[in-house]
């Protein structure tokens, strides 16, 4: 067992794109702030790349106390081996208490390698971070580990589990985008920038980046939408079980999203369940695209209103929408699990309820 007392501070791996911190990074800084304040520790941003001069202070503006910057032309493009080398070296020498990543392609790979290399645990897909004592019952008696991070993540069964890393440090997690709200950017916040000179062995550059290109940016913006109308497999059939053309349901959803946007002056978007996306419905090609996926493997969303139409509500989906302020569930099956977490339930046919909502919203008057 390691001496845990010498480990301090909560680190956040900071991702930079187009000269700015990515939004999920700012969210993880907010999550780190929460547990660091509870522990009287600092939040430290860790940034690797090239030409980071301008962006280095950004983590501080978003709530960090310090930033460690490793800036080198050799580190211009993300590569697992040299990035793992640099981060593991920092961890072993500076001994952070916790190290958080964004649960995306980079954070998952990098965090996993650094955790293995530094012999510590990694909790993936966290949706919340708490500080709690961890009580372990063993045949030799009860052990209490004071002030551990309870790393909250969806469980494979039907619930949410808390993962603990009681004996190893740092406690590492990757955090799902959408789990925390970024702190307001504040340019008056002060903090130290620490430059990290890395001597990276040549062997770490075994992989060569031959080409990089950006795919056209998706214009689906589930993260920013205040109202999301989301469709599930239920739209393939109506209440009597007859097959329906799901494009019709999509058009109803589109109309509903448009009328809400128009009447309430808020951003709206159309989402979809994983089941509907993976069903690969031919008619929906180009409409129900992967970027619309809400849920564990898709996006975690936090709109004011989430309308789940024809979504049964597997645990992964429910976890993805639990931060929505109000959930409206429309489903023909009164036993669908989605109703357990819905504020408003409509047991009925999507093909009747959605057009009715459009009609009501179109005909009604907005209250001041």
């Amino acid at each position: 067992m390691q001496q845990n007392t010498e480990y301090k501070d909560v680190w956040v791996y900071c991702e930079v794109q187009d000269g700015a911190l990515t939004r999920p990074t700012t969210e993880v800084i907010a999550g780190a702030r929460k547990i660091a304040d509870r522990m009287n520790m600092k939040v430290v941003g860790v940034m690797i790349g090239y030409n980071l001069e301008k962006v280095a202070r950004e983590p501080i503006y978003y709530g960090a106390d310090e930033v460690i910057v490793c800036d080198s032309p050799l580190l211009k493009s993300y590569q697992a081996l040299p990035y793992t080398y640099v981060l593991s070296d920092m961890v072993l020498r500076l001994k952070p208490w916790a190290f958080l990543f964004v649960a995306n392609e980079v954070g998952r790979e990098l965090g996993a390698r650094v955790a293995y290399k530094t012999i510590t645990g990694l909790a993936a897909d966290c949706i919340d971070l708490l500080v709690e004592d961890f009580v372990m019952h063993t045949p030799q008696g009860t052990l209490v580990f004071k002030d551990c991070i309870a790393q909250v993540r969806p469980d494979f069964a039907t619930r949410i589990a808390k993962i603990f890393t009681p004996k190893h440090r740092p406690q590492m997690s990757n955090v799902r985008p959408g789990s925390f709200s970024p702190l307001p950017r504040d340019e008056t916040r002060k903090g130290e920038i620490i430059r990290w000179e890395a001597e990276i062995p040549a062997g770490a550059f075994a992989v060569e980046v031959l080409e990089e290109r950006r795919l056209p940016k998706s214009n689906v913006k589930l993260e920013d939408a205040k109202v999301i109308v989301s469709l599930g497999l239920g739209i393939l059939r109506d209440a009597s079980g007859n097959p329906r053309n799901p494009v019709e349901a999509y058009e109803h959803a589109e109309k509903l999203a448009a009328i809400i946007k128009d009447r309430l002056k808020v951003e709206t978007e159309i989402g979809a369940s994983r089941a509907l996306i993976y069903a690969g419905v031919k008619e929906l090609e180009g409409l129900i695209i992967k970027d619309r996926q809400v849920g564990q493997t898709g996006k975690t969303v936090a709109p004011d209103v989430y309308i789940a139409a024809g979504i049964s509500g597997a645990i992964q989906h429910r976890v993805g929408i639990m931060r929505a302020k109000k959930i409206v569930a429309i489903n023909t099956d009164p036993d669908a699990p989605i109703f357990q977490i819905a504020h408003y339930g409509v047991v009925g046919d999507v093909y009747e309820v959605l057009p009715k909502l459009v009609q009501l919203l179109g005909g009604g008057e907005v209250e001041a």
Partner: protein, 402 residues
């Protein structure tokens, strides 16, 4: 080229989940192949048909539960897995991704070493100036165990007579050339490829692939690359490089990586049929047999440190589960009773109630209060109009209703 396809058995959707303190009891559940690992097996099959070698499936878990899943893989498209290994030991149970990666990496090393020592046996025969007949006998024996590729010995009709063993007997080759060929096969075996799914459908962490690469880096004392979310794949067995395209968010990276390496295969990966020319070379470097009985290794045969295995070797512990709470107030259209208007404070049987806002849920009020409000005519069933009004603040015109 040794192509190791990692897979995991996950609880079937239909099975009852059995856990003890958050750790899955796999031996008591119906298990199926993790759907994401099918892509890994597809990619492994493509690599073998294009560049030669063999596909070896590798997993960890209770062997009696895993054998049926392993057997299915021998029939996987297109040519199926050639060999199957299962790491099974009670001490491996309850592993998190760290302990899993540690164990799998030892399994990989053990498999690779078995192939290398078979080739070493042939090399030492050559060094001891054995007879070509004796060499051929040894090569045949190893071929039966699927440990040497067709280029050294084969009973395939298209290759018979032209393998290294045959050519030595016919005097068309000498021991120096033989040693060079075996050395080349050895180098290729050392440049193995590990393929895995991007994640599992039960844990969904995506951590195991990269952690296996890190574990192998530790074992071999060198940097072993990992690339996740691979959607395109090409190998150059002569130079020992793998060319991949992977996606990170909206960025496509084309990478060249040396072997050995670990790659995880995206669901977007689509194999292409290998070129005819490549297939010819591939046949020479492929292995002629299929061993359709899974080989089981326990912790001792891996020389594993028991402190790094299973629950004991796992830094993370799954704590108590929590349910996602239901919202405090739920209203169902056509079912829930609500107040149709705001009700000011009132007194009933000497008790004060209210004030109540419009749309307050009425079902949960004390029966006498509900009756009183009913008499006043302010109780109604919650309607879709009410939902729109409460949720969006859009009041529906009476005229618009009809």
């Amino acid at each position: 080229m040794l192509i190791l396809a990692l897979y995991k058995a996950v609880p079937a959707r239909t099975t009852k989940i059995v856990t003890i303190g958050g750790v899955l009891k796999r031996e008591e559940m119906d298990l199926v192949m993790n759907p994401f690992d099918n892509k890994a097996v597809e990619a492994a099959d493509f690599l073998k048909r294009a560049y030669g070698g063999k596909v070896i499936s590798l997993t960890m878990g209770p062997d009696f539960k895993l054998k049926p899943i392993a057997s299915n893989l021998f029939e996987a498209p297109v040519e199926g897995v050639d060999e199957s290994y299962i790491l099974s030991d009670r001490r491996m149970a309850g592993a998190d991704t760290w302990a899993t990666a540690y164990t799998l990496a030892l399994g990989i090393k053990k498999i690779v070493d078995t192939h290398l020592s078979a080739l070493d046996e042939l090399l030492s025969l050559l060094r001891s100036r054995t007879s070509p007949q004796e060499f051929r006998e040894k090569a045949k024996e190893l071929y039966e165990k699927n440990l040497v590729p067709n280029i050294i010995y084969s009973e395939l009709p298209t290759l018979k007579g032209s393998t290294l063993s045959d050519r030595l007997i016919k005097g068309e080759s000498d021991f120096e050339e033989a040693a060079r060929v075996i050395q080349k096969v050895k180098e290729e075996s050392e440049r193995f490829i590990v393929v895995a799914g991007i994640k599992t459908s039960d844990g969904e962490t995506g951590s195991t692939g990269p952690q296996v690469a890190e574990a192998l880096s530790g074992i071999y004392g060198r940097f072993i690359p990992s690339v996740t979310y691979v959607r395109e794949l090409e190998a150059d067995p002569e130079s020992g490089y793998l060319y991949v395209v992977r996606r990170i968010g909206d960025l496509l990276q084309k990478l060249r990586l040396p072997l050995p390496c670990v790659i995880t295969i995206s669901t977007e990966y689509r194999p292409v049929p290998p070129q005819l020319k490549a297939r010819k070379r591939a046949r020479l470097f492929s292995y002629g047999k299929k061993i359709t009985e899974s080989i089981v290794y326990n912790a001792d045969s891996l020389n594993a440190d028991p402190r790094n295995l299973g629950f004991a070797g796992s830094p993370t512990i799954v704590g108590p589960g929590i349910d996602i709470g239901a919202p405090p107030v739920q209203k169902f259209v056509g079912k829930t009773l609500v107040l149709s208007t705001r009700v000011e404070e009132f007194e009933l049987n000497g008790k004060k109630y209210g004030p109540f806002e419009k749309f307050t849920k009425a079902d949960t009020l004390p029966p006498e209060v509900l009756d009183h409000l009913r008499e006043k005519g302010v109780v109604k069933l919650f309607s879709l109009e009410d939902l729109v009004e409460e949720l969006f603040g859009v009041r529906v015109h009476v005229a618009a209703k009809h």
